[in-house]
């Protein structure tokens, strides 16, 4: 009992962390655990962009950014601890990069009045701003991703998927199950046969799944994977000589980490992309000058320009733009989380603005409104070139089939509203 009491007393002293002014951006990152390989580049990109803004512009509207990093290890219990530890410091926005943790903190953050931005992950129906006041998932989400993939296949097959067989290899968790309903609805519309193939966490063992694919010979395989599961799946696909250009991953299954270990076998593998990658954007000159060369890069600073680094940077960039908008709306530079939310809801990203930020043709232009927190949900398709070790974009932005998705979003968010007794906003 003595040990326990002493532990608690010391922990009490430790928990009282200092907090002072500035704009606090918590980074619930994961640099350890089975998903660490993917968490690191995202966290680096996220932090480097904020460092850039601090170093080059002196912060957002004169307010310095204070980044509080907290390691979650992709674990929901640690995620809760991180959320509780940081929520008292007027955090601007949470971006946990984990669908599980996002689900966890959606009700809490809504009650505490803190915005969440789950960019391309999390609860898809949060796109309905009428129900989810504090949650945003622009510019694209899982259901639009699934629909974009199907639309791309339609284009490949000359507009007809009738009688085709499409398999979904997915991480058997909330994350991987998200697209299933959309793909089922779309299969009714387009007449393809839909096969679900779950892979359990962490996905290191997939022999039986790929044996099933070899036997069933689906025309296309879609993948919702994360972490080590991606590499293993691509390796297994190469082993059974599945045609790689018929294998398409979601944007979380399309980073260098996923294809490099497979070597030449991964050549031709495709994935969705909600933004461009590579070092060909002017913003990298500044990142190099102010952050990397100045020795202020996050982590080992060896991930610059990779797919997930770009995504972390994109997420940070959208957060900074929303904060700028919030400062403009509130008329003050020291904004509160509630004002940040207003800024996110009024966010407008145009191609001119992207070019001005040094990211021309990097992402899609979009506008967030009170009703729509999800953006248009466009995505491109990229293909891996194993010899050049490079992702090449092979399409322009493809639009999703909102006719199918919108009713699903309305249905799911209505169920949440009924469960949590929420009255719709934006009337």
């Amino acid at each position: 009992m003595n040990l326990k009491l002493a532990t608690m007393v010391v922990a009490g002293v430790m928990a009282a962390a200092p907090a002072l002014a500035d704009l606090t951006f918590p980074a619930l990152s994961y640099r350890t655990g089975p998903y660490g390989a993917n968490g690191i580049p995202f966290a680096d990109g996220y932090q480097d962009y904020f460092t850039l803004i601090n170093e080059r512009d002196g912060g957002i509207g004169g307010e310095k950014i204070r980044l509080v990093e907290c390691e979650t290890g992709y674990n929901t219990e640690k995620g809760v601890e991180c959320y509780e530890a940081t929520k008292g410091e007027a955090p601007m926005v949470y971006q946990p990069l984990s669908t599980g943790i996002t689900y966890q903190i959606i009700p809490k953050a809504s009650a505490d009045g803190v915005p969440i931005h789950s960019m391309g992950y999390g609860r898809t129906s949060a796109a309905n701003g009428k129900v989810f006041e504090w949650v945003f998932n622009y510019p694209a989400n899982y259901w639009t991703g699934a629909s974009v993939a199907i639309n791309y296949l339609l284009e490949q097959e000359g507009g007809d998927l009738n009688g085709k067989k499409i398999a979904l290899v997915y991480h058997n968790s909330a994350y991987g199950k998200e697209p299933i309903r959309t793909l089922q609805e779309l299969s009714k519309k387009h007449g393809y046969e839909f096969v679900e193939i779950p892979v359990d966490h962490p996905g290191q063992e997939q022999k039986s799944q790929w044996l099933q694919i070899r036997r069933d010979k689906p025309d296309y395989v879609l993948m919702w994977g994360w972490g080590v599961m991606n590499q293993v799946a691509i390796q297994e696909a190469a082993n059974i000589r599945y045609p790689m250009d018929h294998f398409i991953g979601i944007w979380w299954s399309g980073s260098e980490n996923d294809v490099l270990p497979v070597g030449d076998g991964a050549n031709g593998y495709k994935s969705l992309a909600m933004h461009g990658t590579g070092m060909d954007y002017p913003v990298y000159d500044d990142i190099k000058k102010y952050v990397i060369d100045a020795g202020k890069g996050a982590g080992a600073a060896d991930q610059v320009g990779s797919v997930l680094y770009s995504r972390g940077m994109y997420a940070a960039m959208l957060a900074v733009e929303a904060a700028k908008k919030a400062q403009e709306l509130a008329g003050t530079s020291a904004i509160t989380p509630a004002q940040m939310r207003d800024g996110m809801e009024a966010l407008e990203i145009t191609e001119e603005k992207m070019a001005e930020l040094g990211l021309p043709k990097f992402g899609q232009p979009f506008t967030v409104t009170c009703e729509n927190h999800g953006g248009p949900g466009l995505a491109m398709v990229q293909q891996w070139d194993a010899s050049a070790k490079k992702w090449n974009l092979i399409t322009d932005f493809i639009a999703p089939d909102m006719e199918v998705i919108q009713p699903l979003i309305d249905e799911d968010s209505a169920a949440y509203a009924a469960e949590a007794a929420i009255v719709e906003r934006c009337q």
Partner: protein
């Protein structure tokens, strides 16, 4: 000097068989209860509730449950995570089907349902023992997680298979959902934990507990002196699963608020609780609490020291934390294989003699 039996006379059998025969212990126990019930609820904030006290109390309940089965009855189980999942999903189905009923009832009912499932998976223990039983309970672990992932009825057909706890009350006080006050959360878990610990203590020193221990020490001898192994083993499975089910229900509804079965109740949870009772001390109520404190609070403490105070990088701190906790576990087990409870027992022995060790 202060800690001694001398002068503390028992005049009745009740006094003679009380849990804390030494006055100093008794007072310590009352003081801890008084602090837990009368002081902490007024000081607690969200961080302390959600990151420290609530997980500690819930894991302590789970550790108590597993300790009854493994520590007292000697049946090794690796199905703790699966049984916690049964508690959580039973609680979810009850909460959503009967919203007007008190949360207290739901949690206990969820424990009851888990007890039933536990008995079912305890049946093989009548034929198989030791490591083989551990493998059989491992099957329960994987089967239950698979079941809750596979059958949409359990998660009310939600799109992602996540279950989230809606707002529910006890006597008009909100205890689940995002609007719960920190003290309400804490008190709800504390009351259940104290109640169950009290129950565990009295079960284990009564005839039921003695039968369990007889089975643990030597099952053939126990049978010869008239202990029915069927009843003893299955009652241990039932009581143990009840505790674990309650812990699972609280884990989902009060602590996390939303869970996903594979992530929250996977095999690592079974191991975590097993480590708690091994480090805390097998066959000890105090050991269950000490083990839960060690495994839950130490990582949080280390994180706050390394990252919060020393300002280390989060990934480095996370790795060092693993190494420190791992090192401490090995150290403790080498120095005292019977766990923290035995360490505490030895300390008490020494204190009794102090300052005259000979």
């Amino acid at each position: 000097m202060l800690y001694r039996e001398a002068g503390d006379f028992s005049t009745t059998y009740e006094q003679d068989s009380q849990t804390f025969p030494i006055k100093f212990d008794r007072w310590g126990y009352y003081v801890i209860l008084a602090v837990a019930f009368l002081v902490i609820p007024f000081l607690i904030n969200d961080y302390w509730a959600n990151a420290v006290f609530v997980p500690f109390l819930i894991y302590a309940i789970a550790a108590l449950g597993l300790n009854i089965l493994t520590g007292y009855c000697g049946q090794v189980s690796l199905g703790t995570g699966g049984f916690m999942a049964v508690g959580a999903y039973a609680c979810y189905k009850l909460m959503t089907s009967f919203p007007e009923i008190s949360m207290f009832v739901h949690v206990l009912l969820a424990g009851g349902i888990t007890a039933g499932v536990g008995v079912l998976f305890g049946l093989p223990s009548l034929r198989i023992k030791g490591f083989y039983l551990a493998v059989a309970t491992l099957a329960a672990q994987f089967f239950l997680v698979w079941l809750f992932n596979k059958v949409p009825w359990f998660y009310n057909y939600s799109a992602s298979g996540q279950i989230s706890s809606p707002e529910r009350t006890v006597f008009g006080i909100i205890v689940t959902g995002p609007n719960t006050e920190a003290w309400a959360k804490y008190m709800f878990c504390l009351i259940i934990a104290v109640l169950l610990a009290w129950m565990a203590r009295n079960l284990t020193r009564g005839s039921v507990g003695r039968k369990w221990m007889a089975i643990r020490d030597m099952d053939i001898a126990a049978e010869i002196i008239g202990v029915n192994p069927l009843k003893a083993k299955l009652s241990a499975f039932a009581v143990s699963s009840f505790f674990i089910g309650v812990a699972g229900a609280l884990f989902f509804s009060v602590y996390l608020g939303a869970v996903e079965v594979g992530e929250a109740f996977g095999i690592q949870k079974s191991f975590l609780v097993l480590f708690m009772i091994i480090i805390g001390g097998l066959g000890s109520i105090f050991g269950s609490f000490a083990g839960a404190a060690f495994m839950v609070l130490l990582p949080v403490l280390l994180k706050n020291i390394l990252v919060g105070q020393l300002g280390w990088a989060t990934d480095l701190a996370a790795h060092i934390e693993f190494m420190i906790v791992g090192g401490l576990i090995i150290g403790f087990l080498i120095l005292e294989p019977h766990g923290l409870a035995q360490l505490w027992r030895l300390t008490k022995e020494k204190l009794r003699l102090w300052p005259f060790p000979h």
